[in-house]
């Protein structure tokens, strides 16, 4: 009788230790490092080593003017999805020399960028995006899908992209392409 109670007590003790380990001790130990990793993501974290680069596929107007062509380029590394998205857009809208031609109007700057939990990226550009646009459905499509494809192609976490101008949603850039909701990757505009 006494021995049976001893066995039950031992099992209970082992179970208790296991429960403590699984739900209290281990989460404390590893949770702390995970939290550290998350907090390291924002931009105020220590900057990555200077000059660190990654390869990204950027898009420019093809020879025939009706499609985009993908170009592999080295761009600055960004720690985390948002920082990397900023770097990709910055590289994509930067002025380029012939023979490359950018579909993003000259002078356009990136005002802000954020990514929702669903993977929708919202990219806010300066007014030049509209003011300096030459117009035409095709060029407007190329402008929009330069940004949409640059983000969705290089960042698997981004599923769709909505372009904003001056901090606001816009109907279109030049009167054609519907920008009222995020647009998904569309490779038909790439050669």
């Amino acid at each position: 009788m006494g021995r049976r109670w001893l066995v039950v007590g031992a099992i209970a003790l082992v179970a208790g230790v296991l429960v403590w380990l699984m739900f209290i001790a281990l989460p404390r130990r590893y949770g702390a490092t995970a939290a550290k990793a998350v907090s390291a993501a924002p931009a105020n974290a220590p900057a990555p080593p200077a000059g660190r680069k990654i390869k990204a596929r950027l898009f420019y107007v093809a020879e025939d003017g009706t499609r985009l062509t993908g170009v592999e380029r080295e761009i600055a590394y960004g720690e985390g999805t948002v920082a990397q998205a900023n770097e990709i857009v910055a590289a994509q809208i930067a002025p380029v020399a012939e023979p490359l031609v950018s579909a993003v109007p000259p002078g356009t700057t990136l005002r802000a960028l954020f990514i929702s939990d669903r993977g929708d990226a919202y990219v806010d550009f300066s007014r030049d995006m509209i003011a300096a646009h030459p117009g035409g459905s095709t060029t407007e499509l190329l402008t929009v899908y330069t940004i949409v494809n640059a983000l969705t192609e290089n960042l698997p976490a981004v599923h769709a992209v909505q372009l904003l101008v001056d901090g606001k949603e816009v109907d279109t850039i030049a009167g054609h392409v519907d920008l009222r909701r995020p647009l998904e990757k569309n490779l038909t505009w790439i050669q």
Binding site: V61, A62, E63, D64, G65, T66, V101, S102, A103, P134, G135, G136, S137, T138, T139, L141, L142, A160, D171, T172, A174, G175, H176, V177, D178, R180, R181, P182, L183, E184, T188
Partner: protein, 515 residues
Amino acid sequence: MEARDPPLKARSLPLFSAVISVIVLLGLGAALSSQPAPPPSLTMLTKDGRRSMTIALVGDQEFVALDDLASTFGLAVQESLGAITVSYKGRTIVLTPDQSLASVSGRLISLPAPLSRNGRRWLVPVEFISRALGPIYDARLELRKPSHLLLIGDVRVPRIMVRYDALSASSARLTVDATPAANSTVTQDNQRLTIKFDVDALDLPNPPLAPQGAQSLVQDVRALDQTSLSVDLGPRFAGFRSATQPVDTTMRLTIDVLSAQPTETTPSTPAAPQPPSPPELPPAFGMPVSPIRTIAIDAGHGGDDEGARGAQGTKEKDLTLAVARRAKGIIEARLGIRVLLTRDDDRNVPLDERTAIANNNKADLFLSLHVNASLRKSATGASIFYAAFDRGSPPAEAPGGVERLPTFGGGLRDIELVPWDLAQTRHVDQSTAFANVLREQLGNRVPLAPRAVDSAALRVLESANMPAVLIELGYLTNGDQEKLLAGDGFQTNFVQALYDAVVRFRDALAAGGTQ
């Protein structure tokens, strides 16, 4: 007897009113038809408007005052040594009183009568304008003496001749000839047809058509404004079909008018009513209703939104409007389909309003006209877009569901609710079919882009509740294309292809398929 023949005093007021009314009506008629009643005046038409100049009658000859001409055309008139010298930019006309000959830059011309003096003013025969002034003046001067018109510069004022023929008891034909050729559109408003000409003014006989009898299918044809004719239809009018055909320098517009029922005078009217089928009319008259009755044509951009711009200054908003107007003219005139323009002038119409015009008028086809631009000067050719919706958009099938709502007058009715932005989802297949038909028709007539048919998330198409495409006519950023697009030949070819595509699409719909 007393009632029929009241005393003179009692009759004087109605008589006076009648006289005044007749005078007012005559004046109004004269103003509208640009056919001034006597005493005549010469109506001068320029691009900027019209002015009139007094005509003086001496015997049967019509004269105008030389000083009126001098102030109108900027002439200098000098009288010396018994001769009158008229100068214009260093060129001279020398006239001698009592002689019907004049020297124009050293060459002799004859006038129907010599100069005439009226007090201090010199009068010259009206022919002086075309024979003497015309050769030395900078702008074209065309004198149309019978209608007392003087056309100055490049104004389009065709002579209009109207003929009415009763083809049978139940059909009639109105033939309207415009010389030189001018395009026109025919629209119906209840018991009236309006023929609007794409010109600056009309040169009309007065009246354009002699009044017809009360039983006539066409009762009257009159000037509605400077560029339009109104055709008043009789009570038996049921339908019409119009077609245009160039005949030498004339554009002949033929309007076949049909009555609802054969008249009692038709000798072999059967007891049972049958649809009339006059042999002179195209067979389509008795056919079922066309699947395309209304088309909305959207001239892209407008107002402060100029759209794309070419190096030579051609603006997308102007090109789209010009082509939209041409397309409307031809489709309405030849097919009898109502064509609505989302804008008919240079103004900015919001994208939603453009589609709303098509939706609210239950258009069967929506065509948005644009001109492309590219960052590469080599880009060239027309392209056609139909709407595309991302996978993330709500499903196409019954996006809003069906709701049972009370109707005016009692009862309930199922109302299908379709979100505004997704109205096009149910028509994408037909839009694609139309885009392909249009590509075929454009193919041999205008340059096409390498991929002529594409789909994209285009804002103006998404809310269209009917088959809809956006057409880019070509690239304004390409120098050769800019010249081509602004030209008459391209626009004629494009509009003809659009017309043929509409006919084929309509026939395919009527046959039950769009492939």
